[in-house]
């Protein structure tokens, strides 16, 4: 909301205060100020000129050649200006833009020749200065303005605008007008608000104007008939104040209505009474499908949850939102109906949200306006109108109907509690004066006071003791409160296993494992779900996505990282990313309706297809498998056995033939490792130059937390040297490396200290369907150095163990590599 400094001065003496002072007062004590701007800076270079001569342009009938005196702003010589306006004439005071002046819109005025005659400036219209819509001619200033002065100063347009964040006024309907803000300044500066006449003028006798309320959404409606109006321009002072706060002046009726709303915070409406039925006004709910054209010339379709102002059965306004086109005031309107009402905040808010029409009026009604305010606002408007047009008359008493009650209330306040909450030693007297300066009534008793809350503050804002404490605190100034240190017994906060686990994993991954931690959006796009073949899984959806199609809330974290593969592969030949995050499973919601939350670690490792290093086994799949096992160990948990994943149960992002799974004690999946599904890789664009090898993994932190504990325990360093032996087996393809390793370990009878696979070989010499696996074996006894005899015994046991697997020990160790 924009607050004009000059406008404030109509309500409170601002002597000695700058706009910055006022803005600072409001910032520290009242609301959020977004900025202070001088008004009409674009007028600073436009000066008052006097048209000394006007003659016809020698070569153009419709152009005038003017000689203009701009007094001290000029060089002493008259300016020669070509002007096309029909209303320019000798003796006028006009607004002159000189060469070099920047006009609204940023155009800099240059010296020019118009039809062969040099023009040394421009005589401006209101529209050219963004002061109005009038472009029928130049702006003719009053005769008494000083020559050469900038027009904003000369015409009283120089002002400052304080912009206040509307959000910070959500709870203060009383501050949605200049008088409310002025009241804050008055309280802060110990000044008095200037009195306003809130008495309605005398009306003719007879029946009040007929108004009937047929809905609960309207608690008060004042209808006042006004005769004898001559519509036209509002007075300059009013137009200038409206301009300053960003309201474009239209005509007297519209400007007056807006002015009163921006002055007191009470929206109101002026109807052309000739367009209303003599039966008056009925406020009712709309019928299903009822339509009306609003002032913005849009046809609106309404329903029973919307409230209408009607006359003779026809809708003439959407209550609290906008008036109707058919009953709007026009240039020849002479008979008015003034509407000032109290509408139910929720009804107005819902209608305005539903039809997508937020207006200055609806924004105010939403905030629970004071129901005593309509009578004051009606009087204020009428009194202003009578100052401008003393001849207006009031043919009958106003209709003032509705059932409302004054919200003014009493709240108990314990001054001791004020001091206890604020932590400031504010004396009783100060507590009382602060409240009184804001219009509260204070009845002091010993420990428990009775504070009367004025109507304007009682609608929503002030209802309990804490609200009053805030009033005292903000007036006292929070900056006056001394800082204090919290006191408590020194005990460490309880251990949080989940948080500790997350830190452990992050440290390992971002440290030794050389992974980058990512954070990605919770939303999955329809496109991604389709590409990943996840669209059939149940996803919780947001109804109002930021971007159409980004509606699904992820079930798992891994697809988010998969969606980033191609982009990151374009940047780097190799990358490793992980994310620890949450997914939501709507099919298993609890009684309250909360979907099951899963906490996961997702990992991706991608590299250009030709980036394989020479070591073995060098596939990213195996790296990933090793990494996940390492993470589990890092978390002090036992790594369950890996199982080969079945091709028909492979999660859709995994290669159906290249994935493995490890399950926790209760059969829940602890981790999956696999390569990227090859078709998906192509769909994601990982082909051609971007052809990549990609390994993926997901680890359930929920399962990891309940997995069998296996704390790290020190193993004594061997006192005797280890013996190294190489062992190779030729064996059928379908025998797993795990079985071979188990056979070697079994044959070692506890002597196998380390076992490293270093080669996998297939070749004609082995025969079809067979492979060779070669291992470095380190044998270690706790009590002696192993000799040749023990080694030969071991190899013998290995040979027999291999035979049981259908394989044979290859005596030619150091086998050929493929």
């Amino acid at each position: 909301m924009n607050i004009s400094f000059r406008w404030l001065a109509r309500h409170v003496d601002l002597d000695g205060l700058t706009p910055a002072d006022v803005a600072n007062d409001l910032t520290i004590h009242t609301a959020e100020v977004e900025g202070v701007e001088p008004f009409a800076p674009h007028l600073a270079d436009v000066v008052v000129g006097h048209v000394v001569e006007r003659e016809r342009h020698p070569d153009a009938d419709k152009l005038n050649l003017c000689r203009v005196d701009i007094g001290p702003a000029g060089s002493g010589e008259l300016l020669q200006i070509v002007c096309g306006a029909p209303n320019v004439d000798r003796g006028q005071r006009v607004a002159v833009a000189r060469i070099g002046t920047r006009l609204p819109g940023g155009i800099k005025l240059k010296k020019s020749k118009i039809r062969g005659v040099e023009s040394q400036g421009m005589i401006c219209s209101l529209r050219e200065l963004e002061l109005g819509d009038d472009h029928s001619g130049i702006w003719v200033l009053p005769d008494d303005v000083t020559l050469g002065v900038d027009v904003s100063t000369a015409c009283g347009l120089d002002d400052h605008v304080i912009e206040i964040d509307n959000k910070s006024l959500t709870h203060r309907p009383d501050l949605w007008g200049h008088r409310g803000i002025a009241g804050e300044i008055a309280a802060l500066r110990g000044r008095k608000l200037r009195p306003l006449d809130f008495g309605l003028p005398k009306t003719k006798g007879g029946d009040p104007y007929p108004v009937r309320i047929e809905t609960e959404g309207c608690s008060r409606y004042i209808g006042l008939a006004i005769d004898g109006l001559k519509n036209g321009a509002a007075p300059a002072w009013m137009r200038h104040l409206l301009l300053a706060v960003g309201q474009r002046p239209i005509d007297l009726c519209v400007d007056l209505s807006n002015f009163v709303m921006l002055d007191l915070g009470q929206p109101n409406h002026l109807f052309d009474r000739r367009r209303l039925s003599p039966e008056g006004i009925v406020v009712r709910d709309a019928h299903e499908g009822e339509t009306m054209a609003t002032l913005d010339e849009v046809e609106r379709r309404l329903g029973p949850e919307d409230m209408l102002i009607t006359s003779g059965g026809e809708a003439v306004a959407i209550a609290g939102v906008m008036g109707g086109e058919a009953s709007k005031v026009t240039a020849d309107t002479t008979e008015l109906l003034l509407e000032v009402a109290s509408f139910h905040p929720t009804t107005v808010r819902r209608t305005s949200a539903r039809i997508g029409l937020r207006t200055d009026a609806s924004a105010r009604f939403e905030k629970s306006l004071d129901p005593t305010l309509p009578a004051k606002a009606a009087a204020h408007l009428v009194n202003l109108l009578r100052e401008i047009q003393p001849d207006v008359s009031f043919p009958r008493p106003p209709g003032d109907v509705g059932s409302w009650k004054d919200p003014a209330c009493k709240v108990t306040l314990r001054p001791e509690r004020v001091r206890a909450i604020l932590g400031a030693d504010i004396p009783d007297d100060d507590v009382a004066t602060k409240l009184e300066s804001l219009g509260f009534g204070v009845k002091r008793a010993k420990a428990s006071w009775t504070v009367s809350v004025p109507s304007a503050r009682a609608t929503k804002d002030v209802g309990i003791e804490e609200d009053l404490i805030e009033e005292v605190g903000r007036l006292y100034g929070y900056g006056e409160i001394d800082e204090r240190v919290l006191q408590a017994d020194i005990v460490p906060p309880p251990r949080d296993d989940r948080r500790a686990l997350v830190r452990t994993l992050q440290d390992r991954l971002s440290g030794a494992a050389l992974y980058h931690e990512a954070m990605t959006h919770t939303f999955h796009s329809d496109e991604l779900l389709a590409a990943l073949k996840l669209a059939d899984e149940p996803h919780l959806e947001v109804r109002n996505p930021v971007i159409e199609g980004y509606r699904s809330i992820r079930r798992s974290v891994l697809p988010s990282l998969v969606s980033l593969l191609a982009h990151n592969r374009r940047q780097r030949a190799e990358f490793r990313l992980y994310e620890i995050g949450k997914g939501y499973r709507p099919e298993t919601a609890n009684e309250a309706g909360e979907p099951r939350e899963v906490h996961e670690l997702a990992l991706v490792h991608g590299r250009a297809a030709d980036e394989r290093k020479g070591t073995f086994p060098d596939g990213l799949f195996h790296h990933m498998q090793a990494l996940v096992a390492d993470l589990v160990a890092c978390a002090d948990r036992a790594m369950p056995a890996w199982e080969r994943g079945g091709s028909d149960e492979a999660p859709s992002v995994f290669h159906p033939g290249k994935w493995i799974v490890a399950k926790g004690r209760d059969g829940e999946v602890l981790a999956r490792v696999g390569e990227l599904e090859p078709g998906l890789a192509r769909d994601l664009g990982l082909e051609g130059e971007l052809a990549s090898e990609v390994a993926l993994a997901e680890v359930s932190l929920d399962a990891l937390l309940v997995a069998e504990a296996q704390p790290l325990v020190y193993r004594p360093i061997a006192r005797f040297p280890a013996v190294k032996v190489d062992v190779a087996v030729a064996i059928a393809e379908n025998v797993s490396a795990g079985d071979v390793a188990a056979a070697i370990e079994g044959a070692g009878k506890g002597l196998v200290d380390r076992l490293d696979l270093f080669d996998l070989y297939r070749g004609e010499n082995l025969g079809a369907g067979r492979k060779s696996l070669a291992y470095h074996v380190s044998l270690q006894a706790a009590d002696k150095t192993l000799g040749e005899k023990e080694i030969q015994k071991f190899l013998g046991r290995v040979e027999r163990a291999f035979e049981r697997l259908g394989g044979e020990l290859r005596r030619d160790t150091a086998p050929p590599t493929g």
């Binding site: 309990i464 805030e470 240190v485 990605t520 919780l540 947001v542 109002n544 994310e579």
Partner: protein
């Protein structure tokens, strides 16, 4: 063999040793003179054919020759070692100006880095770290926070609504965990809640629909506004490692009363800069005294206990800390961004 022949042989051998340029050459000379079939061996082999009177002198001469050659070799070896060391110390060909290779490193996300820093500061002051769901019930996100249905303050939170009914949403702040904490924990307690939050906002360089916040909640007997100010000053002192002036000004949030906006003096300038929009103040966090209705929703008696709460903008602190000028990068998962935080 005459004594002068031996002297000549010794002089020749020692000259050869002194001229030896490598240890290999010295070994060769040693072999030729002292090895099998070498000069000394030949002399010794000739002794039996000599006159007995000569034998002793020739034998002694051959031994002297051997000792002299060995001594010469050792001396020359020491010389060669010293030369080699001296040459190595000269470090010829070493170019300290060559660029070192790029290290491969992993990185924590900047949000994690700052979250950890804040967690460490607050846990050192006795706070526990809590967590809460991102998909939240209307009750916790609004209702129990004193923002009933149709409350105009709901307009301030551009909410993502989930599923069919009016029940589920993506939490718009970390504040719902205030209620969950009050229901679960026995006062007095202190807690912080870092986490992601959501607002339905159009995304640009300074707006994201997903951002990170850190809630703080302290409940106990005799907790005052003064404690809130003291806490925030202490926290800022730890975070920026210097004293920063703070100010509280009124702010409206239905779940606190009184409610504040807390500003800190801009740590980057003295006279105003682009970070503080030339005001020298940085808007740091909304905060306030926990509203009695919120305490009651959490099952806590507001006459016995009071408390304060604050909501730090984690994403904003991250951007301030690392001078990130585009908030969209935080959630974009772009390796070129992430790798900078190694």
């Amino acid at each position: 063999m005459k004594a002068e022949d031996l002297d000549r042989l010794q002089a020749e051998a020692c000259d050869a040793v002194r001229a030896g340029a490598t240890k290999d050459e010295l070994r060769r000379i040693e072999r030729e003179h002292l090895g099998k079939g070498g000069v000394v061996a030949d002399i010794l082999a000739s002794i039996p054919s000599l006159e007995p009177a000569e034998r002793r002198a020739v034998g002694q001469g051959a031994n002297r020759l051997k000792q002299a050659i060995l001594a010469a070799i050792e001396a020359r070896e020491n010389e060669l070692d010293a030369e080699a060391l001296a040459a190595e110390r000269k470090a010829e060909g070493f170019d300290a100006s060559l660029p070192p290779p790029a290290l491969e490193r992993g990185a924590l996300h900047p949000v994690t880095r700052v979250t950890r820093e804040l967690e460490d500061i607050f846990t050192s002051m006795g706070y526990r770290v809590l967590d809460g769901p991102e998909v939240e019930l209307d009750y916790y996100n609004f209702e129990a926070l004193n923002i009933p249905k149709d409350h105009p303050a709901r307009e301030m939170y551009d909410t993502f609504w989930c599923g069919e009914g009016e029940n589920l949403l993506l939490r718009t702040h970390t504040s719902p965990v205030q209620i969950r904490a009050l229901q679960k924990l026995e006062p007095p307690f202190r807690a912080i809640v870092p986490g992601r939050c959501f607002r339905n906002e159009t995304v640009d360089a300074s707006h994201e629909h997903t951002f990170h916040q850190m809630e703080g909640l302290v409940v106990g007997e005799d907790i005052t506004v003064g404690h809130l100010i003291g806490t925030m000053k202490t926290f800022l002192r730890e975070l920026f490692q210097r004293d920063l002036e703070v100010r509280l000004r009124p702010g409206y949030f239905p779940f606190v009363e009184p409610g504040f906006e807390l500003d800190a003096r801009c740590p980057f300038c003295e006279q105003g800069c682009s970070v503080c929009k030339r005001t020298t103040w940085i808007e740091l966090c909304p905060c306030g005294m926990v509203h009695p209705a919120v305490l009651r929703h959490g099952g806590v008696d507001p006459e016995r206990y009071t408390g304060f709460a604050f909501g730090l903008g984690l994403s904003r602190l991250v951007m301030l800390r690392y001078r990130i000028d585009d908030i969209r990068q935080i959630m974009a998962g772009d390796v070129r961004f992430l790798e900078q935080f190694a």
